[in-house]
Amino acid sequence: MSAPDRERRAVNQVAVAFGVSALASLGLAAVYWQGGQNQVEGVLLAIALGGLGYGFVVVARRLLPQGPYTEERDVLPSSEGQVAAFETDLERGEGWLARRGFLLKMLGVAAGALGVAALFPLRSLGPNPGNSLRRTKWRRGSLVVDEQGEPVRVRTLEVGGVLTVFPEGHLEREDSQTLLIRISDENVVTRKGREDWAPEGYVAYSKVCTHAGCPVGLYQQDVKRLLCPCHQSSFDAVEGARPMFGPATRSLPQLPLMVDDNGLLRAQDDYDEPIGPGFWDRGR
């Protein structure tokens, strides 16, 4: 093919591409007008843009001068003379500053003080953590309720059953979410010192993973293990939710339970340690 032929073909291609693009744009407007449809909108927009893109690429590759052109690079560093001249001019101020060293120091103090003062408003961004990471909403005698707010009775769960529970009046509280598991039908001792924490086989662990705080949502009944879906830490539900695998380093805190005279489950007290992921002074 001769050069003029090739050029004519390229011109035709570009013209068709731009034409298709224009039609697609009209279609796009029409589709929108008719109420819109996600897939059709996407496709028409793609054709409208793609036609333009294709056209421009053909223009660039076939119709415009290709070169190659050569451009010399500038030398990046300035000449010695220019640098020296600049330094002299800089000296003008610097010399003055050096002679007024004391003023410079005072300026430093003032600027520093202003900087520090400017940081103070950051404090408005959030409350004092206080002991909010160390306490949940569980209290001595809190009624154990499920996600609908219904109290939990001894007969609510079969052996092997699980339920997410909250202290009454604090549904959906992130730090108080607790996993109630019935692992047996008689008292369970998960660890020494927790002899009366799991009446009638009901054990309750904080549902907030000690690794990075995801809800530990899965209970594998056959092996009596809890599994965190986020990074696959698993905890032994029989032995005080001791971590078995994965990145979690600490057991899930256990909530001491009791059964009241009406057969309702209640907490004996709050958790005896901060729930959830670790932080610097957690042990203090």
């Binding site: 996407g42 793609a46 056209g55 070169g67 950051l122």
Partner: protein, 461 residues
């Protein structure tokens, strides 16, 4: 012509003709890999365009509302204003869903293009003097791109994004000494905190985009000042740039690239569903779904959190929790090394010269092997971020697959480095075997032949 009249009017007031002419004649070398940075730039432009549209309809509120929109399965469900407004954008705002999906796809492609561009710069040695400043700006842009992706991902307040926020909060909490206060100041209190959506919204639509725009401006200004690098080849030297001029050839080419990038994203936004938040449901603190996956560019962090062994440090009653190592130290080292690389390499090779000619990766076997090893490391972390999905797919235990990944993480990078090194050497040897023409004959337009000399010793591109 009108353009000339306008140009003259402007020149009379600004005297811009000379600078404008230099700009028009600016030479751009041609290589496919030079387009990666352009694609990243255009993704950002597309993100801004679609993002502005979305801000008109999005409400960053946590106040609880009851949904009564046109998506029937969630009718009557309690949710935050933010989640409700995303449903509205997806189902009730005309062209809302396609905009939202283009926006999400563009974010995914933005980070991908930035990383591909970074790899190009790394493996060809384009970061060497005088381009160290632009290298560091580039690394900062990568961090900002990831950060803006994460904040944007968090805004719809759906179940997945809530889980991501919960983990981010715990990672901040894990920082020694300042962690608790920092987490409380960022989230406005204990997680979930009522402020975080509003704050992330401001960060996502104002602070980070402006920072990206400013740094991008600097990135490009420095590029114009220093001119492009180029691969060695006939007529190319450390002192010149060979290629097409900005006006009109390069202009047409890059406009074409912009439209094609946008076209691909539009097609994806229309046809490929992304982040269907109506399926994940509104965020509830006590719920989490198995197999939840973050956007791809956070995958390596997710993998790091999953693979890191159950270690923590206790000192004098204080503790450094596990997520600090996997969620702060590992990314911290990653970005530190990236920032420092340009200087580290110059230090080690004692090469402080100006370089405008690019290396072929094979000619720098050590750098190339280190790069490949690092890449292997992050690809394994990325894969490990989906270890539960992989375990379910291949029906093996998560524990086994986690251990396999831990071993891979230590063994594979040195192995791939070694292989790369051998491969580079092999390729180099092959280059030497090939007979090289001592001169090249070129046909001139008039039909005669001239002998064009190749600069001695210059490898061919």
């Amino acid at each position: 012509m009108i353009i000339q009249r306008v140009a003259r009017w402007i020149d009379n007031r600004l005297g811009a003709s000379r600078a404008a002419r230099t700009t028009l004649n600016k030479v751009f070398p041609d290589h496919w890999s030079f387009m990666l940075g352009e694609v990243a730039l255009y993704c950002f432009v597309i993100l801004v365009l679609t993002g502005v549209y979305l801000t008109f309809f999005f409400t960053p509120g946590t106040k609880e509302v009851v949904y009564h929109g046109s998506y029937a399965p969630l009718d009557g469900v309690k949710m935050s204003q933010a989640y409700e407004s995303v449903l509205r954008i997806s189902f009730d705002v005309r062209a809302g869903l396609v905009m939202r999906q283009i926006h999400h796809w563009a974010a995914l492609m933005f980070v991908a293009a930035v990383i591909a561009h970074l790899m190009r710069i790394f493996f060809t040695g384009a970061f060497r003097r005088p381009r160290e400043i632009n290298w560091m700006i580039g690394v900062t842009l990568l961090i900002l791109a990831i950060a803006n992706g994460f904040t944007g991902y968090s805004l719809p307040d759906d179940q997945l994004s809530g889980t991501g926020l919960r983990i981010a909060y715990s990672v901040v909490l894990s920082v020694p000494v300042a962690g608790v206060w920092t987490a409380f100041l960022i989230f406005g209190g204990e997680f979930p905190g009522n402020e975080v959506l509003t704050r992330f919204f401001v960060i996502h639509i104002l602070i980070i985009p402006v920072a990206i725009a400013v740094l991008l401006g600097a990135h490009l200004a420095i590029l114009v000042r220093q001119k492009h690098t180029q691969f060695p080849g006939r007529g190319r030297a450390n002192t010149n740039v060979v290629g097409a001029r900005l006006w009109p050839t390069f202009m047409a080419k890059t406009l074409g690239l912009f439209f094609l990038t946008f076209a691909v994203l539009a097609a994806l936004g229309g046809l490929a569903q992304i982040n269907p938040v109506w399926i994940w449901g509104p965020f509830e603190p006590a719920a989490v779904s198995a197999g939840s996956q973050p956007d791809w560019y956070v995958g390596w962090l997710e993998g790091s959190l999953r693979l890191f062994p159950a270690w923590e440090t206790r000192l004098f009653g204080f503790e450094i929790p596990n997520p600090f190592y996997s969620g702060v130290v590992i990314p911290g080292i990653t970005f530190m090394l990236l920032y420092a690389w340009a200087f580290l390499e110059a230090r080690v090779t004692k090469d402080y010269e100006e370089h405008h000619l690019l290396d072929r990766p094979r000619d720098r076997p050590v750098r190339t092997s280190i790069g490949v090893a690092a890449l292997t490391f992050y690809v394994i972390l990325f894969a490990a971020g989906g270890n539960d999905v992989l375990a379910a797919r291949f029906d093996i235990s998560v524990n086994l697959i986690t251990w396999v990944f831990r071993i891979f993480l230590l063994v594979l990078p040195p192995l791939t480095a070694l292989l790369t090194y051998r491969l580079c050497r092999e390729l180099q040897a092959r280059d030497h075997e090939k007979p090289r023409p001592t001169a090249v004959l070129e046909r001139t337009q008039s039909g005669g032949y001239v002998e064009v000399e190749e600069p001695a010793g210059a490898p061919r591109a």
